[in-house]
């Protein structure tokens, strides 16, 4: 049976000048629906490349990525855009909000790229207000990103990721640069999204705080996958066994 998210023999090779960088060295991965996966590993281990490949952002050199049975890298640009718009919500560490738009418009922004966006404008607005309220951001609807704290910006980014009701939330370092208290608030939000909305959460992070809510922890090193380790902290320290 095909998993909700599945990668097979996934390879990614970059060329930085004359230097050949093998970011992914043949990754096989299965993520069931409604899972909460946290990718951890040292910088340069390939975790962001893997997640961006799954998210339809980075085309792999070899191998396949399928979501809900569809090989996403066989889709054309238009179809891939639709997939990113409908099925995946992204939360980035920085540059996640457009400085030219206020909070509400940042959240509803993905809807304008939806084919039915204009028709569903009112519904989207209501949905945005509801999500922002659940994230305690309703009082900042008219604020611009520069007027928000780091934690507030992250909440708005999460709200935007949820606006099209996607099945997958991909987050790259969503708690980077945040203090411990705010980090915990953001983690709690992701936990709530996973448990209440049944979304599949995929997070890339260096922070061990995520371990407490992750259903699956995936450790990466040198473009290879290590998973189901008994002690992730030990694994991150380098004492891991290849599965």
């Amino acid at each position: 049976m095909v998993s909700f998210i599945q990668t097979r023999a996934l390879k990614k090779i970059y060329y930085l000048g004359d230097q050949r960088v093998e970011a992914l060295k043949g990754v096989d991965l299965d993520i069931p629906s409604s899972d909460f996966v946290v990718f951890m590993g040292h910088s340069g281990s390939g975790k962001t490349t893997l997640v961006s490949t799954i998210g339809g952002l980075t085309k792999p050199t070899e191998g396949t990525v399928s979501i809900d049975g569809v090989d996403i890298w066989r889709l054309n640009d238009q179809e891939l855009s639709v997939l990113r718009n409908r099925k995946i919500g992204f939360v980035f560490q920085s540059f996640s909000l457009l400085s030219t738009l206020n909070v509400l418009n940042n959240v509803v922004m993905p809807v304008i790229f939806n084919k039915n966006g204009r028709r569903d404008a009112d519904i989207s607005r209501e949905r945005a207000l509801s999500i922002l309220e659940s994230l305690d951001m309703k009082k900042k609807l008219e604020s611009y990103p520069s007027e928000l704290s780091g934690g507030e910006q992250r909440r708005v980014a999460i709200a935007r990721a949820l606006i099209n009701n996607p099945e997958i939330i991909l987050a790259d370092e969503p708690t980077g640069e945040l203090d411990i208290r705010t980090e915990q608030e953001v983690i709690d939000i992701f936990r709530m999204i996973n448990t209440e909305y049944k979304k599949t959460i995929i997070v890339v992070s260096h922070s061990l705080t995520w371990l407490e809510c992750a259903k699956t922890v995936v450790i990466m090193k040198d473009g290879l996958l290590y998973r189901d380790v008994a002690d992730p902290i030990e694994a991150l320290m380098g004492k891991v066994c290849k599965t």
Partner: protein, 484 residues
Amino acid sequence: MTILKFAVLDLMRRPKKSGLIVFAIAISVALLSSLSIVSSSATSTILEVVSKTGHTLTVRPVITAGIDEADKSSLQNLTISDVIFGKYIPESAVQEIGRIYDKAILEGWERKGGLVSNPGIPITSLVPPTWAPRLYAKAVVDGREAIVTGIDISKEYFVRFWWTLSSGEWPENVNVDVKNVDPKIGAMYIMGHNGQVTVAKPKSRVDEQGKTIYNEGNHSYSSETSDDKLRDSAHGHGATDEYRDDAYLGGAYAAARGLKAGDTVMVASRQFRVMGVLDETNSADDYMVFIPLLTAQRLFHKEGYISMLSVRAMCPNCPVGDAMVELNRNITGITAVSQLDVAGLQFDFFNMLYRFLLAVVVATIAVGIFSIFNIVAGSLYARAREIGLLKAVGASRFQLFRIFLYEHLIIGIVAGLTGFAAGVGMAHIMNAFLGIGAVVRVEGIVLWHALALGIICSLLAIYYPAYKLSGIRITEIFRTQWEV
């Protein structure tokens, strides 16, 4: 929110960068608009003068060093009213001038393909021309120096058929029909080559209550039925003038001095009654005080002399150019100038100047577009992460392209309008500083051209960077965030 609204909001939040691009494009638009306006205005002005002067020949004394300067205050360098002081033609020479003129016209007709007796050439083409002599003098009028011009009003009226009065009346001997024409209607007497006097009226006029009144069709009066006196007095060289104290004033002069018909003016200590004030004609005439020729000759002690002679051929195809050549060849001390030839030379000169300026402007715009391209590319690459974000949330390449398209359509429209407004201002400045002397007219088509140019410049500048960026891989944009 729609993609268009998104584009508008994006522009509004970046006023400085958007303004810089608008400014750069507007300069190009303004340059071309101003050139276009000046060009069309100058062409229109030349054509207007040609349509007024038609087949008119001007005979002046030869200008040599030491002669009083020509007055250019009207900014009109194509006009039959260029003024020369201090040099005169003896009236005794007028007959010889007329003889050579008539002979040259006949010979010209023969060269055109037939003898006078040939039925192919209508006899009406040989209607005698109208000769209008003038005597120019600088004199003190009401305590200030002014140009005083002695004219034979009956002849002058027919040479300058575009003259209309803003107040007052023409003298009775000009034409009995003339005094019955309301000058406000703008009626124009046209002496056709078939010997008919045609009163051309505009299709409508606005009365004092602001109502539009539609006139009936043009009225023609045959030469037989209208007045033979008119032809007798207006044609040929034998018309007479009286020693009178009537004066007519140029429109600009009267306006500057606050004079109107019925007032009196003191010309060289002699009192004249203002019989009429001319409508402005954008020529030197607007600044003159006209008095009867005989009176002027006596007043300024120039009996038997004139300053210039205007000849209006009364047929549309008369070989006036041939007459000009013959007069210049056979009579020393005079210069005959055909207004059509002057216009032709001016057209040639202006076309050459226009082409030169156009080449300079096009080169400037080419450099400008390159600069705009750099500004736009810089601005877009600075937005690379924003573009990456838009792609990540589902914007397709086409949708991204639409955002750029809308933004630059708006920029192009604003730049086009701004450039057009600046171009109108620049056209006035160019016209004044380059001494072109045109009446600046702004035609609606220039606005559309300015808008089109603004949009084209804007879209040209955006196309390549937008195309590249809309297709860029997202991870390239987020490289600093998305680790390898």
